[in-house]
């Protein structure tokens, strides 16, 4: 379990996260939604311990960082490292010995080519694969479906279901609501750094309707399209 209490984050004087209180339980999938700049990535970075913050983030796992698989929106790759070496690097970091990486290449990635030459979707798949092979207890996926083709989308969704089955905790963000409603048990909504809503699975349809209404409003009419 990961428990966040009274979490505040400032960049200079700017308040990016304000009094966040959430509990993420084992064996559950959590979605975090919000507009660009609402604080989702900062929240993830705080949980991972990559950002200094005010407030408490505790876990029943002794050192959460060492059991946390973190996938960024845009995974960063060195200029001359192959996909296989990237997976090797992240596995070495966690002390996981990988016998045959090629056999685990479920996305059919060109693992012997430089990762920096991959397309956006391929980079995402490589990042996800590397994090999964680290054998973590918790996962944070920031936009795991971003740029990924439709076939791989299906695979990613199934992977997330499998992680739940295995009792892992998954926290993810996505700008595609259906990907969250398909996988999540709960969705948290962030607005300007504040947690404004917690929605359970039974109310997802309601949330989607509400988001459409609030987000779209009369903006389309304002375009005066002809």
């Amino acid at each position: 379990m990961i428990k966040i209490e009274n979490l505040y984050k400032y960049y200079g004087k700017k308040e990016v996260l304000k009094d966040i209180n959430i509990s993420f339980e084992k064996g559950k999938i959590y979605g975090v939604v919000g507009e660009n700049g609402s604080g989702k990535t900062t929240l993830f970075r705080c949980i991972a311990g990559l950002e200094k913050h005010k407030g408490e983030i505790s876990s029943d796992i002794e050192k959460l960082k060492n059991s946390l698989g973190l996938l960024f929106t845009e995974p960063y790759f060195f200029s001359k490292i192959t996909g296989k070496e990237y997976i090797q690097l992240l596995s070495n970091a966690r002390g996981v010995k990988l016998a045959n990486i090629e056999e685990k290449n479920i996305f059919d990635l060109p693992l012997n080519e430089y990762a920096s030459s991959y397309s956006t979707g391929m980079k995402k798949k490589l990042g996800l694969l590397a994090v999964l092979l680290q054998e973590n207890d918790c996962y944070i996926f920031d936009e795991p479906f971003n740029g990924v083709d439709i076939q791989s989308n299906i695979i990613v969704t199934e992977i997330i279901h499998k992680l739940k089955e295995l009792g892992k905790t998954v926290i993810m963000s996505s700008h595609i609501f259906s990907t969250l409603s398909d996988t999540c048990d709960e969705i948290y909504m962030l607005d300007k750094g504040e947690l404004v809503k917690r929605v359970l699975k039974k109310d997802f349809d309601e949330l989607e309707k509400e988001m459409k209404l609030v987000t779209i409003g009369n903006k389309i009419e304002m375009l005066n399209l002809k």
Binding site: A48, G49, L50, K63, K65, N66, L70, F72, Y76, F78, S79, K80, I81, T82, K84, E85, Y86, Q88, L89, L90, N92, A93, R94, G95, N112, E113, Y114, S117, Q134
Partner: protein, 305 residues
Amino acid sequence: MKEYFLLQYKMTNRKFVKFGIPIVIGYILLLFGFIWASEYLFSKTTVLAKYLYLLLGLFSVSKLSNRGRNDFLKSYFKEYNKLRIIENCIVIFPFVAYFLYKGILLFIPVIIILAILMTLVKFNRAFNYTIPTPFSKYPFEFSVGFRKTFYIFPIAYYVAYESIIVGNFNLGLFSILLIYAVMLSYYSYVENEYYVWSYKLSAKDFLIRKIKTGVYYSVLLSAPVVFALGVSFYKELELILSFLLISICFLVTIILAKYSAYPNKMNLSQGVLIALGVLVPPIFIGIIPYFYLESIKRLKNILHD
């Protein structure tokens, strides 16, 4: 076009400021550093120096031939060809001046012509061929670095071979120096925090692993030269091994210096300490523990140690 060069000038100045050096001092240091390195090369490798120097000059220019960069320049500047020629000539100018100073006049038109011809070269994706590396098991410094500098090693090995043929021991030492200088550059790159954060190690164990990998791989790359020189100049074996040991110490210092500034780049104070170590190697005894303790402080935050 004038704005472009002004911008390059401003960007260079910013690098000095970021490094903590006053701009004027930065240019003076750069000038003296260049002269010192050139003198050193010519004093150690009398036979091949001019060829190596020519290659070094062209290597500096080749950095500007990246396809993405050139496509960008071409789309923004009408006088693209002129700009590229001026740019390459500016980079090659110090080498031309030194050739002139040394009286190696024949190489002046050669390096200028080759530098101008280099404006026609663009390193594209086809050049992105995956270069095999023996260092895949423990990425990333050596696997990435080796791919970027693989062509230096045959040159260094050839220099060592030449030193044995002509019986020039100093030239042999220079080849070891060249190999280590290249390997030190592998640690100039500051990786994203994620790649340190990912390690399930304490700060101390993280540093030990980095050092062990660095020393092991560096010995592997320098072993052919050390072995060949040891056999050919066996009376100087002690000196060769001492030189190797100092080079390894220097590598360890650079690794520790890098993490003592992490996640920032090394700054002036670290640079000064390293330079002192080069001039007076026994100083390493003090510098290494200092950088080690500073690195532990920096890494503890990221590794939650």
